[in-house]
């Protein structure tokens, strides 16, 4: 029962989430929507980390605890929280200055 699902299924789902997030990040006009796309991409990466933790042989010994995949995923979640906090604060700040959250309006840095 444990290994009835092949690893690549998980990787495929992760890739699908990553790809959908990438599409969202590239194509949304709303800056909050772009941020949601980035969160989806991070989730896809996290699924990979946990799937590898579960499936891939780890070299034994070396004082390893064998929890690297999960620790990695937790760190990513923590960083995603920090990223969302700062990113959304930036969007709110820009909105208050320019009354818009559409990314094509944020082009003052263009040469």
């Amino acid at each position: 029962m444990e290994a009835s699902i092949p690893l690549w299924w998980y990787l495929l789902v992760a890739a699908a989430l990553f790809g959908t997030g990438l599409f969202g990040a590239l194509s949304r006009r709303n800056a909050v929507g772009v941020l949601m796309g980035i969160e989806l991409m991070l989730n896809g990466a996290n699924i990979n980390a946990v799937a590898f933790w579960r499936y891939i042989a780890v070299p034994s010994g070396a004082g390893l605890n064998g929890m690297d995949g999960q620790v990695f995923a937790i760190m990513v979640i923590a960083l995603a929280a920090a990223e969302a906090a700062v990113g959304l604060a930036l969007i709110i700040s820009i909105y208050r200055n320019r009354q818009s959250v559409l990314v094509e309006d944020f082009s003052t840095m263009r040469g």
Partner: protein, 199 residues
């Protein structure tokens, strides 16, 4: 069989939610789809045997980050109505992202992953709870358990209770530096976000 069914269900929820995120025209509705996708990902973690991570995913993503996103949506009210949600690059973006998915999928399928043999060995780490009455015997047992967990060959038998314990040990030993740095990152993010949002 049942596991495959469960996997199909949660994977469908995760990917379907993700598609909803990019397809919805209203940002608020888009955020609700995002929550659904997060729940699906939590289900995938549960199937993978990462119980703690599944709960964390729900606690942080569904319970916290989504709240942050929804509050941000409320604070930027111009976008509440339906709108043309995609920009002119949408077609190009679709080609790029679908080719990324195709490439990753083919790679994942064709690579010969070094899968570890299914559940080799029994559980090395016994339940490490020592109750409070916890005489010295209990605590020494816990300590020897800890040392075996740290030094013996890595055994991923899914003894869930010990999984959380080992996670705590990993955070306090091998990953101590990243653990402490995370607190700094969170502090900087908090201060930065307060400064930026209040200005």
């Amino acid at each position: 069989m049942m596991e495959m069914l469960a996997f199909g269900l949660v994977a469908g929820v995760a990917v379907g939610g993700a598609i909803g995120v990019v397809a919805a025209r209203n940002v608020f509705v888009s955020a609700l789809w995002l929550v659904l996708s997060f729940i699906g990902v939590a289900g995938i973690y549960a199937i993978l045997g990462a119980d703690f991570l599944a709960a964390t995913q729900v606690l942080i993503y569904v319970g916290a980050i989504s709240v942050l996103i929804l509050f941000a949506v409320m604070l930027t009210h111009h976008v509440m109505g339906d709108e043309r949600s995609n920009n002119r690059q949408a077609f190009l973006a679709f080609i790029v992202s679908s080719s990324v998915v195709a490439a990753l999928g083919v790679l994942a399928y064709r690579t010969d992953w070094p899968i570890r043999p299914a559940d080799a060995g029994g559980s090395v780490v016994t339940a490490m709870r020592g109750d409070l009455a916890g005489s010295s015997a209990a605590s020494t047992a816990a300590q020897t358990g800890a040392s075996t967990a740290l030094t013996s060959t890595v055994d991923l038998a899914l003894n869930q209770d010990s999984n959380v314990v080992r996670l705590g040990q990993a955070l306090m030993t091998e990953h101590l530096l990243s653990f402490e740095i995370i607190s700094l990152v969170l502090l900087v993010a908090l201060i930065g976000a307060i400064v930026i949002a209040r200005d």
